[in-house]
Structures are given as structure tokens and as C-alpha cells.
Amino acid sequence: MPYIALARTRLAVPRSMFAALPYFALLLVALALPLAGQEYWTVIATRAAIYWVLVSGLNLVVGFAGQLAIGYVALLTLGAYTASVLVERAGVHPFLALAAAAVVGAMAGVVVGLPALRLRTFYFAMTTLGFATIVTQVALAWTGVTGGGIGVPGPSLAAPFDTAQGFYLLCIALAAACTWMTLNAANSRFGRSLVAIRDAEVAAEACGVAKARLLMLVFLFSGALAGIAGGLFATLQSYITPDAFTFDLSVLFFIAILIGGRGSVLGPLLATLLLTALPEFAAPLVAWSTFLYAALLLVIVLLVPGGIADVLDFRSRRALPSGRAVVPRIQLLPALLSYGVSRDDLTLRGIALSFGAVRAIDGLDLDLRPGEVHGLIGPNGSGKTTTLNAICGFAVPQSGTVRIGGTTLPLGAAPRRAAAGIGRTFQTPRIVGEASVIDNVMIGGTILGRATLIETLLTLPRHRREEAALRDRAMTALRLVGLEALAAIRADRLQHSELRFVEIARALMPTPRFLLLDEPAAGLSAIEIERLGQLVVAISRQGTGVLLVEHHADLIFAVCDRVTVLNLGQTLASGTPAEIQAHRDVVEAYLGR
């Protein structure tokens, strides 16, 4: 297969070298710009660099985490006024004032971001919009501090940054640093988790992603960058009034990210440069610029939701070989799963859960043993998936206990299940379609990471070590399920059956003690179901306890050590496959008599 060869060469050459080329090219152009002797162009480029300092942080919020923060001009305003007022009215050193602007920006970033934990898309967008309106009104009316409509002078920096060129180089250096840091964050468990929150939130939680903590960190970071950008912006403007911070700026920042493409760093960078420079090429366009941005936004949203990054992604247009078959390599299992001596059962006792007046589960007992495959079957609405959700913390029972050995797991609290040793797959695969297959599998290893966000941003040794180990392990998991040739491919290009196996690989990443599979055979061909069955049995023989929810009765009876039949939220029967098949009530329940 030429396809595998292709994937191998791609891995053999350090990918980062190729990927870094456009950034170095841009940096070279930026450094050469002052040599052109056009001072006006240097000013425009300075502005673009400052905008990028803000947009690079916002990109993590909007492009990666998918939070629609459309009022970020508010943070630019806060940073600008903080720096200007501190220098002008309190005589603080300009660099200290910039640092203060970063702190104020970070705090405001958290204030703006906090509602994102509870509010959905439009509501959150509206709160950021409201925040932007309020900040402008305060800047206008608080004349004693901000100077109101008259304004306040921006901070002037000390030599060598007091000239246009010196200031430009400072901004370029900062912009380059921001690019580097956000790239580091993007290619880490932080970046992958953010994208997972955006596109597959439930799966992210099942993998142990702590959404609240992660989002707050990102809002903190992007707020700090926005505050710094504000301080620099005030210096560039040399005099600021509330008029300088129109909502049009917010629109520019936001649209730059969407045009650039979500989940990309290069795309939004190019789009920021483009949108900043565009009105300069044609003076008549200035009045129409926001109109054009809006038109562009509409076109992008409706026609190319992936933005520039998608258009430039030639690799994803190359055809994949057809007629692919998934062939797991069971012999690789010991390399991935190895357990200590712990032989604790997962026990459910008296679980009862109702949705309103409907009793979904009614006093259920269940024991999962390490090394066994336990089948869970029953007619529609008998409570199979609800049982699985109760174990995983996605549904909160009104009463009952879930224990592993002697440890009682808190009911609910889904993001803590991964650390407790419970992994799962979903009825319809929850996959990040825009991320590569291997990135999707690496999301499963989120809880293995220890490096902090700072270590990641600065790519310190611990982060690099962890990242390499995680990638290795993910590759092993992909080899195990027979999908290593597709590791670098965007996941949304895979067939449905392949996604099922990607989900299993992802769930195996943190060495779960119990693996819960929700209808893994749905949509698979007969031969794929057979291979799935072999894989499931092999996983259990490694010491994992497997819970298999399935409609395919033949698969259940072929691979399970024990089977529990649910009906109307209660155990109808439990025993070996042979006992269940002979059980008259089961057949009756299935045939609805």
C-alpha cells in the first residue's frame, strides 16, 4: 500500500520544520519592512502586530475552545486605559504599567469568561457584547480618571523603544513570542482538550478534561495578552479617547479568527494581517471596511466554515484508498495495557434514576469483574444507556452507590471518572472531526499529563517528554486497532466503522480498569463485528472489566462471560450466555409478549 509509505515518510521528517516555514518567512518580511523606508507601512505593520498579540490569545478562546467572545475590544480598552492612566496620572514606569495592563486584562478576561461555564452560544456572545458596551460607556463617563471624551495621552516608552522603528521591533518581538506560545499550547494536551470541548464536549469530559479549570486558564492567558495589546495600542495611538475603541475592532478580531479558520494558528495570523492592511490598499474602502468584513463573515460561515486554513489544507483533499478494512493487532495489547495486582470489582447497588415521572432505572445491582466481558441487553427504553451513564457520571441517580473495590465514586462528576479508571465509547462516535486521528486518540491520554500551562507555553522539558510519550502511546493504540496508516488524517474523513475503533483506541489510552462500550457494533459489517468481538475478548483477558451494551444478540452471546438482561429498568435475568438463551422470560421480553 503506497499509502502507508506516505504516512511513514511524513513521520520520518520532523514535521515541525515544514510547519514552521511560513512563520519564519513572515518574520523575515516583518524584519525587512523598515528597510523599505516607508514609515507609514511600519505604522500599519506595528498595528497589525499589536492586533495579533490580542488575536493570538483570543484564538485559543474562539478558534480552539469555540467560545463566541465577540466583545474583546473591551479588554483592549481596559489595557489601554490602565497603562495610560497609570503612566499619566500616577507616574508609573511604562513597562510596569504594561505589566499592570496585563494583570487587569487577565482579571477582566476571567470576568468576561466566567459566564461561558454556564451559558450557551448566543447568551455568552451577548454577555461579552454587553460587557463591551458597558466598558465604553464607563470610559466616556468616568471623566475624572479617563478624561472622558477628551481622552488621555498614551504611555511613551523609554529608549530604544521611543522611536517608530524601535517600537515596531518591540511589537514584532512580542507578536513572535505570542505566536510561538500559542503554537505550543495548540499542539499540547491543552490545545487538544480545548478543541474537544468545542466539538465533542461529552467525550472530553469522559476523557477527564476539567472544562471549568481549563477555560479559566485560557481566559486568563488571553485576557493578559489583550491587556498588553491595549497598552501597546495606546502607545501607538499616542492619545486615546473612547472613540478609538469602536465595536468595529471587536468585529475585526473575531472575524480574523473565523476567516483564518478555527483550530489553526497560521490562518488567523494571515487573516489578521490581511484585515489590518486591506483598507490601506484602497482608501474608498475605509468607510465600507466593516461592511465588507461582515459580508466576508457571512460568506465564510455559509460556504467555508473551515476558513483559510481549510482552503490551504491540500493534504486533506488527497483521496484516501478505498476498500479499507480494519484489522486489529491483538498481540500488541500487552504493550498498551498492563495491570498491577488490583482485582477490584465495579459494583452498582440499588441504583434508581428517574427523569421526571419516568423511572429509567429502578433499583439496579450490577457487578463488573476485571478480566470479564459483561453483556447488557434489553428492549428499547429498558435503561441500558442510562445504566452506562450512571456509571460514567453523566446521569445522576437519585439513590444507590457506584463503587470500585472499597472506594465509593461520587454520583455525577463525569470528568473525574477517567482518573478513577473508567473509560467509555459512545453510541454515535464522539470525535473531533477537524483534528487528526492521532490527536483524537491523544485526547484520551489527557489525564496522563502533568506539565502546567506555563511549562507548555514555554515548551519546557517535562512538557516535551510527556508529549513524546503520549504520541508514542497513541501510535501503539492505533496500531492495536489497525488504524496507524490513518494517524495523520482528519478524523471526519474516516468511515463510520473506523471511528468506532478510534473511540476504542482513545478509551484505552489511560489504561482503564473498566471499559464501557455503548453499542460498538452498530453500523459495522459482519466481518468487522467479528474482529470487534475478538478485540473485546482480548482486552478483557488483559485484566480489563468490559461492559458491553449491544443489540446484536449474536455478538453478545459469542463474547460475553456473563449477561444481564434489563427490562423496564430492572434486572430481568442474569447469568452465563447459555443460561440467558434458555431463559423463557428473555425471549418473551424481546418479542414483547
Binding site: N380, T428, G523, A553, D554, L591, G592
Partner: protein, 240 residues
Amino acid sequence: MAADALLHVEALDAGYGKIGVLHRVDLIVRPAEIVALLGPNGAGKTTLLRALSGLLPWTAGDATFAGSSLRGADPRACARAGLVHVVEGHRVFTQLSVTDNLALAAYDLPRGERSARIEDALQVFPEIAAKHTEKGGALSGGQQQMLAVAQGLVRRPRLLLLDEPSAGLSPVLVDRVLLVLARLRDAGTAVLLVEQLVEKSLAVADRVYALAQGRIVLNAPAQAPGLAARLERAYLGVAA
């Protein structure tokens, strides 16, 4: 065989996004017959009904109703042609009165004809006729199911697609609804019935199809000898 068919489905494929649910489904319903569509969970029964009534686009194959193709027809066009789908889960409008629920089913009929149609539909179910001013939300589950079926009857369908009318009903009410189906058939209406209750369906149906994993695995007269055993095998995933 197909010449006298009211509904003729040929090699139909349909699904949600990437997930194919139905694979080359062939099925025929003739005028004035009750056809039961049985099968285990997740076999694709609801998906098939949705594909036929225009609620779900299909990916391959064809289906004709009364001689014209259903390709690209939306639910409104289907209903106008006389193919009416009563969806699962007795989803009536809880904030509207029983009469208004029925009036909406007659939305694009002439105003004069509307009240007559509503009267007719209510006559079939005296239980809800007595409550015709009450809100849909005030009805019991069984009454809501009757209202849902009555909504379908307002259209005077040539073919009625019924998705699990027995769900959540007491045995007495199930018999009541199935009796209505038998009367409809005698009056010339064809019915395609999706059910979990196998024995009760067989008692009222003329023919039966079984669907498993998106494929038709059984097609037989409802009174065929040994049908129960064949169905049992079909449910466990083995072609009967």
C-alpha cells in the same frame, strides 16, 4: 406482484449522516391491507417510516406511492398525496386544545371541510371527543396516542404509517387502537404498522415483514405456519 401495490419500495438505503441504517429495503403495501413491520431495537423500523414520509432523505433506491415517486417529497406533499405518518411517542401539541390539534392536521384543507373532518375523526375515538376542549397536555398517555392517530385520520389517508401506537398504553387501549385499524382496513385504508407487541400485531395484520440490522429478513403472510419461530430467529439476528 408490484402492479397492484399502493406503496412500492425498491432497494432503499437511508441513514443519518455517515451512518447507514437501511440497506436495500424492498417492501410492498397493497390497498386495504395491514402490514406489520417488526424487528428488534435499532433495526431501522422508525428510520424506514421517516424515510417514506419525507422526514428523512434517502441515499439510494426508490419508492413509489400510488404510481408516483416519493423521491424528494416533503412530509407535506406526502400527506397531501394520502400518505400520512403518525410519529412515535404520541407527540401531540400540549398547549393546544384537542380540537385545535385536529384542526392543524387539516391546516391546508378548505375551512368549510375542516370541521366535518374533525367531527369524523372524533367519532372514531369517543374518549377524546368528550374532552375536545381540553389541552393536549391534560390528556392521559393513551388519550394522547388516540389524538395522534385521530390527527392522522383527519387527512383521510390512503396509507397510514403508524409508529408504535401501543407504547405506554394499557392492554385494553392497545386492543382498542388495533380494532380501529381493522375497521380502517375494512373501509379501504392501508396501514403500515411498526410494533413491539408481536402477537397482537400478527392478530390484526394481513402480512408481516421483519427488519433486522437494516435489512428485510422475513416477508410472510401473518397466518403462515411456524411464523413465531422464524421471527424469534430473525430477532436474534439470523436470517429466517
